[in-house]
Symmetry: C2
Subunit: 348 residues, 2 copies
């Protein structure tokens, strides 16, 4: 068993410590400068997000104690939001005295300079500046994992897209009876699926919001239509990004979109927008309550990312276009979603 | 526009008349010998299943009037359950004076002699006995279509797997703004997906039932795990049945499993079993209330169908095995589902 440092003490960073501790790893949980309150509360009793005590053998580190948290670790798990990734990663690189295998639970894009990149693209660039002679040993998470449920030991399946043999050696030390871990070499497919599902979950939420507002109770056909179209469009985008389509049709795509649209902050954000809320205001309001609808930020970055492929591809992505016009363009959600449906999937 | 006879006046047969009538087809709805009460009620007012009046221009035919219903029709839509398919199809062949293009909305397997066949396999054999010099022109439905919602004009996407140019000519006359119709030549993939999703939806329901019974409210991770595994196993089975895996990853598989597990009789049946009900009793009780959980019958036939491929394949289908042992073998649902999860999806 290994010494593991988990960076980020929010939902996911805290939850992953449960299977890791159960497997006998020495686990340290480091809170970022935004997490000091969480670490402090977890020392005294329940973790405020997970609403339960963290594993007893876990060691907790305040944001000022990164160096101590990293001392003697074998690998590192980064568990911050996509907006928080780069600042934490830069801090990590400054502090690390040697290259270590890195796992990330972050789902989204990062913005380096004025370029939008997959998380591992951004990380690789920064890593190469710091450790010029080493290749980054890396794994990006995918799959349907609600943090609270993982900490409740609800059966959970996840997938890591990875590169490098050192990382692969650690996978066999992750699974428990309730935390099932598979792996693929398709880092691109996993990362893009993980980012995109947050955007499409907003679309599912918008569908809920417009029907709730209209008092319509049964619209499963429409939800399934949108779910299916989301998978189609994700497969197209991942193909364009030179990932593997099969990755979308498995845990990182189908599985994660399922869980995210059934229960998650992006769906809630979408519902508010679908019910008539102003997107930016709703996003801010959730943020003020410590609830980050990451898909909103990811959607903004996705539009820049798509610029790399060519804006013309949006014509093949009618659902994404409807979500974009609604969430970023302020168009009427009902009109946009109905127009999407009326122009999609016809043999005629 | 064409003259269309729809055979079967239950949920789906009645619902499909809405877009057909809207498109200006001349539509006749024939009720089977089990549907006379439905036809009678629909003549007087609301259709008892859809709980609304059928389109005004629709012509209704009692079971004794099949010959009149078929007179001058251009194509036929068969909309009965898989258990009802063969008796209705035999009656149709006896009555037809010429071969016509056939669409079926039936999802499941049929049993001809002691052989379990896809619906179109069974239909082809019988058709060839009757019209020896003609090839069957055929389309099988797939995709997420709850009948009541279709009749409510909720946006709905469907896919037909078809063979033959005469059938293809009719597709362009099906879509409306809310009923979106796509087509594929992969009849096998569509038929197998449509049958299998009813079986796997039982598995999703079992998961609900065991957690409800245990008072556990949040288990989205497990549901997503099962949903994803269902798609994996459907893709495997469809590959074995020489269908196309891509068909599973679209409306006939992903889309339909989504809607069926969100809302449907197979999910309800699964929930009762998961909560501790005796499968056969629960099936009978639903049947007495005119609610057919088709997946129960399909599961029984699927086990025979799998015999064609070789029982050994069950080792690669751990979720199906758990459903089978629970529903047909009377094993404990919780034990079976947890054992499935503990042994699935691990890189370790």
């Amino acid at each position: 068993m290994a010494e593991v440092a988990v960076l980020g003490a929010g939902y996911m960073g805290s939850a992953i410590t449960f299977p890791l501790c159960e497997n006998g790893h020495g686990v340290r949980l480091w809170g970022t400068w935004l997490d000091d309150g969480l670490i402090e509360a977890a020392r005294e009793g329940a973790h405020p997000r997970l609403q339960k005590p963290l594993p007893r053998q876990l060691q907790l580190y305040d944001s000022i104690a990164l160096e101590q948290a990293l001392k003697g670790t074998d690998f590192i798990i980064i568990a911050v939001t996509s907006e928080g990734f780069l600042p934490v990663f830069e801090r990590l690189l400054e502090t690390l005295d040697r290259p270590l295998p890195l796992f990330t639970l972050t789902k989204g894009f990062v913005e380096l300079g004025d370029e939008v990149l997959r998380v591992s693209e951004g990380a690789t660039r920064l890593f190469k500046e710091r450790f010029t002679t080493h290749d980054l040993q890396w794994a990006s998470v995918g799959g349907p994992v609600k943090a609270v449920e993982l900490s409740d030991k609800i059966p959970t399946a996840t997938v890591f897209g990875y590169t490098g043999p050192e990382v692969a050696a650690f996978f066999s030390t992750f699974p428990t009876s309730y935390y099932r871990v598979s792996a693929t070499r398709d880092v691109r497919g996993v990362e893009l699926s993980s980012a995109l599902k947050n955007v499409y979950a907003i679309g599912m939420g918008i569908c809920d919001g417009i029907h709730k507002r209209a008092g319509v109770e049964y619209y499963h056909n429409f939800k399934a239509f949108i779910f299916n179209q989301a998978i189609r469009e994700m497969a197209l985008l991942i193909g364009e990004g030179r990932g593997e389509r099969e990755t979308v049709f498995d845990l990182a795509g189908v599985g994660d979109l399922y869980v995210t649209s059934a229960s998650g902050r992006n769906g809630i954000f979408g519902r508010k927008v679908g019910a008539g809320g102003v997107p930016e205001e709703e996003y801010r309001r959730m943020l003020d309550a410590d609830e980050v609808a990451e898909g909103y930020h990811t959607l903004q970055l996705l539009m820049k990312y798509i610029g790399r492929v060519g804006e013309g591809i949006l014509e093949q992505l009618p659902l994404l276009s409807a979500i974009k016009r609604t969430v970023l363009g302020g168009e009427n959600p009902r009109d946009e979603l109905l127009r999407f449906a009326e122009n999609c999937c016809s043999a005629g």
